[in-house]
């Protein structure tokens, strides 16, 4: 009986292969763990193959890797149209409808996705230097993914999107503006009736950490790639003690906007992300913890 569990995708896997056939992580490398417990997600080896159903996916390249699919008859993947790199003319492409098109458009999310049906070949790539992360999902397993990190998923993975409920408001009157530091909406993927495969693209390097029950961690909102749905999230505001030459400014304007993640569960961050902008006073916000130094 096979008892080997891949350290990265957490699924029973095959140690006799050079890479995990489910997530592409190298089998023969030592885990790279920082003192604080972050595990470096190893890049998928060039030309590594991932198996799903009767189809497979091959990862080509290391700077901006492309995921090349050999789709079997009756199997399909879906994706946003802007990640399509090339396709065989034989691959059948069609639209996949999504609920709430107007809201998605207003939130800057792709409104329409494409489905590619086998048999045929198709390749997808994002346009940032970074890594492809493969997350095999067991039957019934769900995972939350930050917006714009999704590359593709197999047909049996259900896609939902919901409000993140992490926001704050700056300004008053006509200058009033609502900010969503980790995006207005988040994607949730669930393997519906059988195991499925989810591919994400993370700009820069990716790091994974397991939070124990009740353990909390503060991270930059835009750096989050994915988390188990058991991990809770809310806004956290930190106000450094005001010293030095800027004493004339309001003590409460200068702040750090972070999110607090509370375990149990797995979280992943990437090393390239946008910082929250502006230093205006916050007039309203979603549920948040605060720390004034």
């Amino acid at each position: 009986m096979n008892t080997y569990v891949c350290k990265y995708c957490r699924q029973p896997s095959d140690p006799s292969q050079p890479t995990c056939p489910l997530c592409g992580a190298p089998v023969d490398i030592r885990e790279s763990v920082s003192d604080s417990g972050w595990i470096k997600q190893p890049p998928i080896k060039d030309m590594a193959k991932l198996q799903f159903g009767q189809s497979h996916c091959q990862i080509a390249g290391t700077t901006v890797p492309a995921a090349e699919f050999n789709l079997a008859h009756g199997e399909m993947v879906y994706f946003s149209h802007h990640v399509l790199l090339w396709a065989d003319p034989a691959t059948r492409l069609q639209n996949m409808s999504l609920r709430g098109g107007w809201k998605r458009m207003m939130a800057g999310l792709p409104m329409i996705m494409l489905e590619a049906h086998g048999p045929g070949h198709i390749a997808l790539s994002d346009n940032h230097a970074g890594e492809v992360i493969a997350l095999p999902l067991q039957h019934g397993q769900s995972i939350w993914v930050k917006e714009h990190r999704f590359l593709t998923a197999t047909g049996n993975v259900r896609y939902d999107w919901n409000s993140n409920d992490v926001w704050y408001v700056t300004g008053t009157g006509d200058d009033r503006e609502t900010h969503y530091p980790m995006g207005q909406f988040g994607d949730t993927f669930t393997a519906a009736d059988r195991p499925g495969l989810l591919l994400l693209h993370a700009p820069g390097d990716a790091f994974v950490r397991d939070l124990r029950q009740g353990e909390s961690l503060l991270v930059q909102p835009a750096s989050l790639i994915y988390r188990d749905v058991s991990v809770r999230v809310h806004l956290h505001l930190e106000y450094p003690r005001n010293m030095g030459f800027s004493f004339w400014r309001s003590n409460w304007d200068y702040r750090n906007i972070l999110i607090r993640l509370v375990g149990p569960g797995r979280v992943a961050v990437n090393s390239i992300f946008e910082r929250p902008e502006g230093m205006e006073s916050i007039s309203n916000h979603s549920y948040a913890t605060r720390r004034r130094w």
Partner: protein
């Protein structure tokens, strides 16, 4: 050695026939004509050329990284000032002549593609993708024909064309992300995101085709570039998506 490709690594070819451009190792050195080129760095590689007095290279002026003071620069007029106005391309390319050292880089993570051209070859390159070419290669450009190709092809208005006559030459490109190449048989077709197109043999035809797919609330019709063989096609994995602006 004429292209700097490592000889001790296996060709990386995907199941569908795309071959990865060989990743040049840091400080790889190779010769062309009587000059040498050394590639430095791997994330945003730099090509450093030690020019022999008999040699020269030409390039778009904004990719020059540094040069010896003694290296003379001259300008080479291309045959199309309209290109500046209409196509947003420089109609003057700069020529550096030996002896001396000069270095070039583009400003995006990616790969240098070294293409030694034999006599009698013709290669079409996406605009703004060429890094440098040796002086023995003729440089021109071809206007992308057809209104559909122009509006929806995503490759701009022009393609650079590099032609060798009786002498070989060296052409270097910068591909964003990873670069993959595939050789198409006569009549074989492949659909490519237009922004991903990097280079092709002039024997390969390129035509924008509209797919019956919605891409937005009010927009319909995803355009892809249909490439038809025979010949080589090179693509890059990081690109500006022409349809969505992403």
């Amino acid at each position: 050695m004429t292209c700097g490709a490592p000889l001790d690594v296996r060709d990386k070819v995907s199941d569908s026939g795309w071959r990865e451009a060989p990743r040049l190792r840091d400080m790889t050195e190779f010769r062309f004509s009587a000059s040498t080129c050394q590639v430095e760095g791997e994330l945003v590689p730099v090509a450093e050329i030690a020019l022999d007095p008999r040699d020269g290279v030409y390039f778009e002026h904004h990719i020059l990284l540094w040069k010896d003071e003694s290296v003379p620069l001259t300008s080479m007029q291309t045959n199309g000032p309209r290109r500046t106005v209409m196509g947003g391309m420089p109609h003057i390319v700069t020529v550096a002549s030996g002896p001396g050292r000069i270095a070039f880089s583009r400003d995006a993570p990616g790969e240098l593609v070294v293409l030694p051209l034999h006599p009698g070859m013709e290669l079409d390159v996406r605009e703004h993708a060429f890094l440098l070419a040796s002086h023995s290669i003729n440089y021109s450009f071809v206007r992308i024909k057809g209104l559909v190709n122009l509006l929806h092809g995503g490759s701009g208005m022009f393609m650079d064309r590099f032609v060798t006559q009786q002498y070989p030459g060296l052409l270097m490109l910068h591909g964003n992300g990873n670069v993959l190449e595939r050789t198409l048989r006569p009549g074989e077709k492949i659909l490519v995101e237009p922004g991903g197109f990097l280079y092709k043999d002039s024997t390969v035809t390129m035509q924008a085709v509209q797919m019956p797919l919605k891409t937005g609330l009010f927009s319909r019709g995803l355009y892809l570039a249909e490439m038809t063989g025979p010949g080589r096609v090179g693509i890059q994995s990081m690109y500006h998506h022409h349809g969505s602006g992403e």
